[in-house]
């Protein structure tokens, strides 16, 4: 006589069941297996044949356990003498209660719609529950699938971010599609920034660009108000910021009178520095700040999110905290002192190739390795 209790206990796994509940289930199933076995013997099968016939009643024990859990077998049974006339319902019945609202309360169309919605919600919840259980049963497969998806999604996101920022989105500057970065050629070895005289020469000679501007970045230190802070300081030509931004958040950008030796030292600061170091002070414009030990007057605040997008290798970071106009006369700088990163805006209708041709033609003596 087979021990059906033992058989069911060995094969059936109901981890969320209490021991008492599990014992009941095992006993009931064992009884049914025994009935099937006895029936097999009565029908003339051998003991082995009857045993096999009985066991065939459940061929996939894990699917069987899943069906039981889905049927709510993890929950305790109601007592046998439970009175069903007191209108209590198990949690499973709540959706049914919703769709069984008194018909007099609903018009036919709303009733049908609510029934459909409740059915869809119920079925979706069951499908999700089933999917999660299936995945939990195959941890290695789930792990591999999740990692593969994560790598694929991550790679696609990264690639799209690059394509989006480089190719799909226009530069966040006025007429950004006409802005160029200009380099001096360093013989056959590469390229370098330009010098002050070179920048002025470009302005004088070019007919295909309507503006040239320049920047040189170094570190500075803010002292005086608040904690001393190292900042990125961009020395710029007077037209640099107005070439790259429509208008400031507050105050103004530099004007030609701000640039050059002996002029009143003025700065334009970034929105982020204004928030971070000056607590979004609405009265900052017009006040003096100490920058690397010297007083400068704040004349403007850049709009939020303004950043520079120079190519890699230009040594111009995206986020510069303080811009100051050049306090030197660019014409008086040594011609071979190349420190200015130059940008230019093409005139309407001018191509890069045409612009390059003009620059090549205007090169004063191609033997000079540092001139474009």
């Amino acid at each position: 006589m087979p021990n059906w209790n033992e058989y069911v206990r060995e094969h059936l796994s109901l981890p969320k069941c209490s021991p008492e509940r599990e014992a009941e289930i095992i006993e009931e199933l064992a009884q049914q297996f025994d009935d099937a076995y006895e029936e097999g013997l009565l029908s003339g099968l051998s003991e082995q044949g009857a045993l096999l016939a009985a066991k065939r009643h459940v061929s996939d024990w894990s699917a069987f356990a899943d069906d039981l859990m889905q049927a709510g077998f993890g929950h305790p049974r109601k007592p046998a003498n439970h009175n069903f006339t007191d209108n209590t319902e198990p949690a499973f019945g709540r959706i049914r209660q919703f769709v069984s609202a008194p018909l007099s309360d609903l018009n036919p169309d709303r009733r049908q719609f609510k029934t459909r919605v409740a059915t869809v919600i119920e079925m979706t919840g069951q499908d999700l529950h089933y999917a999660i259980r299936m995945l939990a049963k195959r941890p290695l497969f789930t792990f591999v699938a999740v990692v593969t998806l994560a790598i694929g999604i991550g790679a696609n996101t990264a690639i799209f971010s690059v394509i989006d920022s480089v190719l799909l989105r226009p530069l966040p500057y006025p007429q950004g599609n006409r802005l160029t970065v200009l380099w001096s050629t360093l013989g056959k070895e590469g390229r370098c920034p330009g010098s002050g005289p070179e920048l002025l020469s470009l302005r004088e000679r070019s007919k295909l660009f309507d503006q040239f501007a320049g920047i040189w970045v170094q570190n500075g230190a803010l002292t005086g108000q608040g904690e001393p802070q190292q900042v990125k300081l961009g020395w710029v030509t007077a037209n640099f910021l107005s070439l790259l931004s429509a208008h400031p958040q507050a105050g103004r950008f530099f004007i030609p009178q701000d640039e050059g030796k002996g002029r009143a030292p003025v700065v334009v600061i970034s929105h982020e520095l204004w928030q971070r170091h000056y607590g979004s002070d609405p009265n900052l414009v017009g006040r003096s700040i100490l920058l690397s030990g010297r007083p400068y007057t704040v004349v403007g605040i850049l709009p939020a999110g303004f950043k520079l997008m120079f190519p890699e290798g230009a040594s111009v970071p995206a986020n510069i905290d303080v811009y100051a106009s050049f306090d030197m006369n660019l014409a008086e700088q040594p011609r071979d002192q190349d420190f200015i990163r130059i940008i230019g805006r093409l005139r309407d209708g001018v191509t890069i190739q045409q612009a390059q041709g003009e620059l090549d033609a205007n090169t004063p003596g191609k033997a000079d390795p540092c001139h474009s």
Binding site: E28, Q31, D34, D35, H57, L68, A71, A80, F84, F92
Partner: protein, 110 residues
Amino acid sequence: MFNAELKKGSAELLVLSLLETRPRHGYEIGKLIEQRSEKRIQFRIGSLYPILCRLEQRGLIVGRWVEKAGERRRRYYRMTPEGRKFLAAERSSWEEFVATINHLVSSEYA
């Protein structure tokens, strides 16, 4: 043997209808279905037991351990008042459904 989907859709109705007249235990329900359908519909323990669980969880049937002299105790199921209402409604829907399908698939529409 009928298509598994057809069987699945009518399983609860079958089980409830067999509990309408008197309580029965699980294996007996499966055997009755097999006998009355002349073996055209068969439910194994693995299929029938979850159905009983679901019906019990929904309060349509209720189970009780019964011990008879000289026998192991068995779990018998009987229908609840909610189950009777549910059966009546399902029976009516089923009859309407079958009539509709028959009407549509009749040779007149072929």
